[in-house]
Symmetry: C2
Subunit: 419 residues, 2 copies
């Protein structure tokens, strides 16, 4: 059978857009892996009435499981445990053993702060040890305990802290608690497959989907992501043959645009190509991306095996000094040009003695554009031995989007160069 | 009077965590600027029943305004306009003039795709020109029109497309439509102030807050953000004196930890210090942050006025070759050491002829840690002329958090060095 879940993300700072919620997406992926269908994510501020209204809505919408994140801190505006207790018809009480365990943790942390008092920390500890009666306590990772709260006539509520570093390990404990285990025992296995494409409009894929039969048991979602088109399909294990036929049809019509069929990302594909064996080392000389290309390549654990380094060459002097671009070339064709991108790629490879070089030069804006070289024009080049792939991009969007899409375009050029 | 708003973010790809919602936070900030109180953000998949349930919940929770994002694309899973029409009791009809305007846009875009057909694009255009009767149409920025839909007994609904590049300019049009204008005319002015602090635990601030009087009319929210503590306060204009007293008390007790009282971020403060006059140029030599420090410094438009460049020196050879770190120093004290951080800072300044140099070397993990130099140990140094500030950090969290927090720590060192 299908198990539906809803998430309540609490926190005025998330609601007001000051910080971005990382927990909803992370939990969504975990739930999908468990075969639980996520129906609603609700973000609310630290107002008890609004938190309670969200819980009531999810119960009314017949969720089988509710997860809350945030609002477990030591301050008075952290009130999730209290609201959940009311929702489940439980009263709050201090758990003295828990209070002592939290105090042990807090005591160890005191040295980290310039400005801390025992009184404030004792009060915060007591507040965090106040839990709804009958709740299963999830041991603190930071200082806040998590909770699994059950009540009559309402779905079980998993109450998790807001910091992702605390929430994520605690989730592993939560799925092992009796209320969550008994729920998961009812779940039908669902499979998920992801196909990634580049260079095709969403409307064209929609046309293909309209023309295909046998998609009834597949839940297909298409979305644009950092310039790529992603086709995510969820289906019951018994519909695997339907999915295979769908994927075959997709490949037949749009095979040249498909770069991943197993869910792997372009970053993973490029990392695997560089890692070999044999390992191919890489170095970057980048201007308008200002370090983000090297930053993206080094995002991955273990990337030091193939990333030798990079040069952020914002000024013309740096392009010459660090990446060996001849000043007369810049004077003749301009810093933003295919020729300079190529010289940067070659210069990066040579300078770092790397097998692969990347060169990027462009205009990220908002200033600096001209009619001939408008904002969004970016010249990129990847080089390995005698091979060169060069592209002049004309990217839409603002400065951040232009910088980000440039790194995606380079990743795809690297894939072509190295495959 | 107070005007409350709710946002419904539609899209299975957002709900499932595959892409992050940028629109909720962006709209939250716009609403705050208009004095509208945002109460709920609800994320739902592309299932009509779930979208409708969200709209009904917001109407039942007495929102004065509802905003939807996403679900206006050309594919069959884009169904927001249709669901909103049902919610407002309107029927759907093709707007032929709108269809023609969309077709003009779509025709111009055809050249961008390798793989596109007229039939698919015609069908998509017709679908996007289908609008609820009586709705105010917001002209497309991409290909999707926005809508402002009014109905009897329900709050007005502003229907916006999902891509931020389309949503943001369209929001400016939406606030000028009669239904939204008449709502905004009822809003009391609210003020918002933000104080930012570093090096103080949230519990200590909570203790201060508990001890203060006169906070009744201030809505104070505290949150941790990239290692900083942010205190955001919203209040009616008539409570300005209360706020001033609160801020004075905060400064008296925790003045050394406050680095911003006007909402400016550490990035803005450092940018202003570098921009001068006189301009102080900066260059970076970074290892474990792999380009993210230079990337953060160049995030800002106009940063080319002071960022000369950077070197990503992952390998020891690159540390020596690009930043002039003596190989015997690395052999003696190790690549991750205060001495090498200092040599990197000096080397960056010298190499790029910059007034300010930044050096970063550390262990971002998950591998590479030892008992003496564990994962999370990062040595950073900033240098200008004869001045040096050096710090050995021991950062918690995963690879991404260690890399990010390192850049925050360097920003604060730069502020101290340059102030």
């Amino acid at each position: 059978m299908s198990v539906r879940a809803g998430i309540v993300v609490t926190g005025t700072e998330v609601l007001s857009g000051i910080i971005r919620d990382a927990n909803g997406p992370w939990l969504a992926e975990r739930l999908r892996g468990l075969g639980v269908s996520l129906a609603h994510v609700m973000v609310v501020g630290d107002r008890p009435d609004d938190v309670r209204a969200s819980l009531d809505f999810l119960a009314g919408a017949r969720m089988d499981l509710i997860i809350t994140t945030g609002g477990l801190g030591p301050t008075a505006d952290d009130l999730t445990a209290d609201v959940v207790a009311g929702f489940a018809g439980r009263s709050m009480a201090v758990d003295p053993a828990l209070e002592e365990r939290i105090w042990q943790i807090v005591s160890r942390m005191r040295g980290r702060w310039r400005d801390a008092s025992e009184e404030g920390m004792r009060a915060g500890t007591r507040k965090q040890a106040l839990v709804p009666g009958g709740a299963v306590v999830l041991e603190p990772v930071g200082t806040a305990p998590g909770l699994v709260v059950s009540g009559d006539g309402v779905p079980p509520v998993v109450v998790l802290p807001g910091p992702p570093g605390e929430l994520q390990p605690m989730w592993a404990d939560a799925v092992e608690t009796p209320p969550v285990r008994s729920l998961l025992a009812r779940v039908d296995a669902l499979e998920q497959r992801i196909v990634r494409m580049i260079g095709i409009p969403e409307s064209e894929l929609a046309r293909t989907l309209r023309g295909l039969d046998g998609l009834e048991r597949l839940e297909i979602t298409t979305c644009l992501r950092r310039g790529e088109l992603e086709v995510a399909t969820v289906f019951p294990a018994s519909a695997a043959a339907d999915y295979d036929a769908f994927e075959a049809a997709l490949l037949e019509r749009h095979g040249t645009t498909v770069f991943s069929r197993d869910g792997s990302t372009i970053d993973e594909i490029v990392a695997a190509l560089l890692l070999g064996p044999p390992v191919r080392t890489i170095a970057v000389a980048e201007s308008c991306t200002g370090g983000l290309m090297a930053g993206r390549l080094t995002d991955r654990a273990g990337s030091s095996a193939y990333v030798l380094g990079g040069a952020v060459v914002y000024s013309n002097e740096a392009k010459t000094d660090l990446a060996g671009v001849p000043p007369e070339l810049i004077a003749r064709v301009g810093a933003v040009s295919p020729e300079v991108a190529l010289a940067l790629a070659d210069g990066a490879a040579e300078r770092f003695s790397a097998a692969v070089g990347v060169g990027i030069t462009g205009i990220a804006g908002p200033g600096g554009g001209t009619p001939e070289k408008p904002v969004g024009m970016v010249c990129v080049c990847v080089a390995a031995g005698e091979s060169r792939l060069e592209r002049t991009l004309q990217l839409p969007g603002d400065r951040a989007m232009i910088r980000d899409r440039t790194t995606t375009a380079v990743m795809h050029l690297l894939r072509r160069l190295l495959s």
